[in-house]
Symmetry: C2
Subunit: 342 residues, 2 copies
């Protein structure tokens, strides 16, 4: 065995120090779990929350079984402007079904949909939408409905971006979801939208399995004909998972209070309140749509009129300030909006 | 290094063979995942199901994400005779609340409860029970309700066995649940009983976390007073997870079809049908209460009158035979009934 002289040993030591330094830096860079976030209070809040909840010596430590994070979908995980994806699906279905419903040409709300009268559609009431949902989302089995959603997703293109709706998901939020899961959290979608609709793509798009999607639902009936049972979707609402319905849905479906909740509109207020009022660590975040260049600006960030989309209102901004909820500026906090952005 | 002569080597080899043989046998014994089951078609069916669903080369292989098993509770996981645990809780609550309700002494169904008139109680209608549930299970927050259930569980004793209700769980079923979980299945309780009631003890007693308990529920309302939000339990039913409600609840809460389902009464029929009609491997089992000596005999196994308890009827036994569902005889298939049995 060759013996090293002092010079060789020192040289080796130097190389080692340099190697560790370089490797250490490279490693820290490679390990940034939120690369699409600009450094700032929002990013720091997520990092601090994970540190606190997973550090056994912290007073804010949360047992793995209780690590629950809930995410609104429309406007929080994917683009909701100018129309919810699910509303676009419903309107497309009206068009497809129209040939078998000649009476729709003289019957609202269908008449306006078929005439593509955006001004009239923007004034649709909840009852109008319920009529549209009833004919487009019901009267079929759950499997048949899932098939329709799959077919639509494969072909529909969102306005402005001319891409599938499922492309318009927010890369920084995907990173937060993944980072939380890596740290033992289970990520749930808690959406005012249709539970059965979102479940069709939640696993593939968000990494959230169907059983972790809580949403609004319509009544189903069990029908067993000749040993081939199906669940038939009925044209009546069963559960509205919005506003106060969100904590109700969380308790019903999960039975545990989240430690972290993410939303973007007035319909998420109660979910954030509910999260904040639990024991231990909390993280409450709201996505503010203030980036007209890369996505859309609406709510308090623009003078766009509120449509049926439950936007981030001035009132919500006030409550967020009072409760120290973290408002994420898409413009300032996010380096990248969509996975396809450079 | 000392060299071994031939004799020593042969002797070592013999010892090794003996060791492997002994260790192998001991290991197989230690690894019997269902030690409380007598060998027979029921035990073999469970073992074959797990082998098929977890063997990638099997046509019946099930992806880990889709490994779902659902279990009825009353009469399937714990004793339901002569009264459901939750009914006993409700009756005890009536007794506790009676001093503040002097009018109950002349008002049915409370009068019969307070008089411990078992004959009258056995004739209670669903409306009678709903009245009892309304006063005993509602008008309080979810947290307050959980506290009441905890308190009752800690003190109440089941008839005949004079033990806490949560002692009267079936050891063979605990073994099946654990065996399935060890093999990547998620075990869900799908009960006609109260979801919020069962969630109080499901983790401790069955190893099933609250979010994997699907059950009947009453409506809740979100009330936020001074930043201290609560969910108030209202005296009206929200969802009845029984009969056709079981597949509906499974679709609603899980969004996946189970590969295995376990029940014991007519209220489980549709859950088993739903499980059987899915793709891939299935296991459908019904627990038959035919052991008057160690537990109770009722349903087709005895001439006990059907009470409000949804028993295993002759009609169910016929359907089980037609569909090749496996009927588990507590008397013949189970070596041990309760964990406390010798």
């Amino acid at each position: 065995m060759r013996r090293f002289d002092t010079y060789t040993l020192w040289s080796l030591r130097g190389t080692l120090v340099l190697f560790v330094a370089l490797f250490g830096i490279a490693n820290v860079r490679a390990q940034d779990p939120l690369p699409s976030w600009n450094d700032g209070p929002a990013k720091q809040a997520v990092l601090a929350f994970v540190k606190d909840t997973t550090d056994k010596s912290s007073k804010k430590y949360v047992e793995p079984a209780d690590r629950i994070a809930t995410f609104d979908q429309d406007g929080t995980l994917w683009t909701e402007h100018p129309l919810y994806g699910q509303a676009a699906f419903a309107l497309a279905r009206v068009g497809e079904m129209a040939p078998s419903h000649p009476e729709w040409k003289q019957k609202e709300p269908f008449e306006s949909v078929l005439a593509r009268d955006n001004a009239a559609m923007s004034k649709f009431t909840e009852a109008d939408w319920m009529q549209i949902i009833a004919v487009t989302h019901a009267g079929m089995s759950t499997e048949a409905f899932q098939g329709l959603v799959k077919g639509w997703l494969a072909n529909a293109k969102a306005p402005r971006f001319d891409r599938p709706y499922t492309d318009l998901v927010y890369q920084p939020m995907l990173e937060v979801m993944k980072y939380l899961r890596t740290n033992g959290f289970r990520t749930f979608i808690v959406t005012g939208g249709g539970q059965e609709f979102v479940r069709v793509y939640s696993e593939q798009v968000y990494g959230v399995p169907p059983e972790q999607v809580v949403g609004s639902s319509i009544a189903t009936t069990y029908v067993n004909t000749n040993g081939k049972p199906v669940l038939m979707r009925e044209p009546k609402p069963f559960f509205i998972d919005d506003g106060p319905g969100k904590p109700i849905g969380i308790n019903l479906f999960i039975g545990k209070r989240p430690s972290a909740a993410f939303g973007n509109s007035a319909g998420d207020t109660q979910m954030l309140e509910w999260t904040q009022s639990g024991d231990g660590a909390h993280l409450m975040m709201l996505v503010l749509h203030d980036d007209a260049k890369r996505e859309y600006a609406y709510g308090p960030a623009a003078n766009l009129p509120d449509t049926h989309v439950g936007t981030f209102s001035e009132a919500l901004l006030t409550e967020a300030k009072q409760n120290a909820w973290i408002v994420v500026s898409m413009k300032n906090d996010w380096k990248r909006i969509f996975p396809f952005d450079e």
